[in-house]
């Protein structure tokens, strides 16, 4: 097999693996969203921290790191799902050029392994371009079917953004838990 052919095969495998793992992005909707309708957007973030969530965050924090947001074990991604914006020209709280954050978000609680403190993280999708395709991270811990949308990670959560085309997922720090 030629070198090019090997490269092609590796690239194909990577893209397929990413595609499959990415069962879809973040989502993480906000509690009650299905009941209130779009006219009330943007909603305030909802803190769903609780004992169960805390336990899950601690599990994630055991292997998390705080220096490289292009890795799936970056500490703020404890409940993230999708293509990470940090690998797409943006950052944990920055949409890549020309894409737009959804004004709605779900808020998770992640533990910073450096100080052991819990922080509130807003998982906002960046919208308006086709999928970035880089750094597919997926956690299905606590993930629920779409009839419980606030806990489902397959939904395109771009409500309130200029349009509903999913680009990537971010994880903005918004306070201490």
């Amino acid at each position: 097999m030629t070198f090019d052919a090997v490269l092609d095969r590796v690239a194909e495998r990577m893209s397929r693996a990413a595609a499959q793992r990415t069962s879809r992005r973040s989502l993480l909707a906000r509690l009650g969203a299905t009941l209130v309708g779009a006219t009330l957007l943007p909603l305030l973030p909802v803190d769903r921290s609780g004992r169960l969530k805390r336990a899950r965050a601690e599990e994630f924090a055991k292997t998390a790191q705080t220096t490289d947001p292009t890795q799936c074990n970056y500490w703020r991604y404890c409940a993230a799902d999708g293509y990470m914006c940090s690998c797409c020209g943006g950052g944990p709280s920055t949409c890549p050029p020309g894409s737009h954050p959804s004004p709605s978000s779900w808020v998770g609680t992640c533990i910073n392994p450096d100080d052991g403190q819990a922080y509130l993280i807003a998982y906002r999708d960046c919208c308006g371009k086709d999928s970035c395709g880089q750094c597919a991270c997926l956690s299905t811990e606590g993930e629920m079917p779409v009839y419980r949308p606030q806990l489902n990670n397959d939904i395109v959560w771009c409500f309130g953004a200029p349009n509903m085309v999913y680009h990537c997922s971010s994880a903005a720090l918004i306070g201490k838990a």
């Binding site: 009941l35 009839y147 397959d154 939904i155 085309v165």
Partner: protein, 429 residues
């Protein structure tokens, strides 16, 4: 167009290509290139004509006395294929095409020959359905006028099932649910008249389209509940976050009656998967939970009514950590009353993990009939509805495997099926 390897005698190809049209050594290179290109085009056409004429003459000379069926045609029409009537072993594979989500596709394959029959382009995170008469494929699609931007339009597209041409569309004015495609986002009533499209924007509703009249009827608001499972020609049920169904009846004018049901599962500890199956032929439906419970429901115009509950797992299975999982993880063969479930070994919250095996159950006795090991672990499973059924499984590596659904003998695998296929459809589900 390819030039023939050897030009027929009597044609000076080089003279055509080198004819400069009066261009001398000092002429502009660009101009000379253009002239050369024009010459090449003329030459190609001439060669084609001469080749055809010479070939015909040679054939006339060399085929004297041969039976007519032994003589090859040397000219042919360039046609477009038209499919025969849809076969029960055809399988429709919906690929949302990660990470190029605005360009989803549906591949159509023949499960017997494992050959491609054709393809549809279906926009952004689509869903599809097949008419009961097999003549039309419906697809709920979303587009932006400039690809990823511009004006959004949501439609039901009608494809002729033999030509695969789009023949009509109905606009969904309230939009549709945008999500990695799941089958219960879109369903036909059993008589094939109404197409029901779940919508979340983010208020939840069901769009009703009369596909016979090709007319949008209405959006029925059903606050907080999701997905759509038709239960009759003018009725459907949905799953709600408290672990219940809600039941809806509607009329041709779009009037609706919404009736809540009682919770039947624990949505915190053990929710049911989205991909339940409803058999209108048998008037029964099945839903499977994360922990392997099967909820059977009776299907009537009054909605889905839970009729029983049993477990896929025995003590030994639990000890080995078997559980259901994947994407479209459940299929039902109505004629034999058999359920097919993708199973894997894993802990809690591995509900999207690909199945290592298909477990086959008698839906009446609840006994496990077979375990079908999967060389290609699968996220989706489907079974054809004829009396010699085929079992289809779709892997995370974009391969489709086919088994005899009675003997469970492997029939073959198609590799490299699109980019990221998620869903399988067959006729008469």
């Amino acid at each position: 167009m390819l030039l023939p390897a050897a030009a027929p005698a009597g044609l000076e190809l080089s003279s055509l290509l080198s004819r400069p049209g009066g261009t001398g050594p000092g002429a502009e290179i660009g101009e000379e290139k253009m002239v050369r290109r024009a010459g090449l085009l003329v030459g190609t056409i001439l060669v084609g004509l001469a080749w055809g004429a010479a070939g015909a003459a040679a054939q006339e000379r060399g085929t004297e006395g041969l039976p007519s069926e032994a003589v090859l045609e040397v000219t042919e029409e360039h046609t477009t294929a038209v499919l025969p009537e849809m076969g029960p072993h055809w399988v429709f594979v919906l690929d949302p095409v990660f990470p190029h989500l605005i360009a989803a596709k549906v591949y159509i394959l023949d499960g017997d020959s494992l050959r491609y029959l054709g393809m549809l382009n279906t926009g952004y995170v689509p869903n599809m359905a097949i008419s009961p008469d097999h003549r039309t494929i419906y697809s709920a699609e979303t587009y932006y006028s400039r690809g990823t931007r511009g004006k959004r339009t949501d439609i039901v597209a009608y494809y002729d099932a033999r030509t695969l041409e789009p023949v009509a569309e109905t606009v969904l004015p309230e939009g549709r649910f945008l999500v990695v495609p799941k089958k219960p986002n879109l369903a036909l009533t059993p008589d094939g008249r109404y197409l029901l499209s779940y919508n979340m924007a983010p208020g939840t509703s069901v769009s009703v389209v009369d596909v016979v009249a090709r007319r949008y009827v209405t959006d029925i608001e059903v606050p907080g509940c999701g997905l759509v499972f038709p239960t009759g020609n003018t009725s459907f049920s949905m799953l709600c976050p408290d672990g219940s169904f809600v039941h809806v009846r509607f009329d041709s004018a779009g009037n609706a009656e919404v009736r809540p049901g009682a919770p039947f599962f624990d949505p915190e500890e053990d929710p049911v998967f989205e991909h339940g199956v409803v058999s209108h032929r048998d008037r029964r439906a099945f839903f499977v939970s994360y922990e392997g419970l099967v909820y059977e429901a009776e299907v009537s115009d009054a909605g889905l009514r839970i009729a029983g509950k049993w477990s896929l797992l025995g003590e030994e299975d639990r000890a080995e950590n078997w559980r259901p999982g994947g994407w479209q993880l459940l299929a039902y063969h109505a004629a034999s009353d058999r359920l097919f479930v993708l199973m894997h070994r894993g802990g809690k919250w591995t509900h999207k993990q690909a199945g290592e095996e298909v477990w086959v159950f008698d839906a009446n006795s609840h006994e496990r009939v077979a375990r079908v090991p999967l060389e290609h672990h699968a996220i989706s499973v489907s079974v054809s509805q004829d009396d010699a059924p085929l079992l289809f499984t779709l892997s995370e590596e974009a391969s489709l495997s086919v088994f005899d659904a009675t003997s469970f003998e492997p029939r073959g695998t198609v590799e490299g099926l699109g980019d990221s296929p998620f869903l399988l459809y067959v006729a008469d589900e």
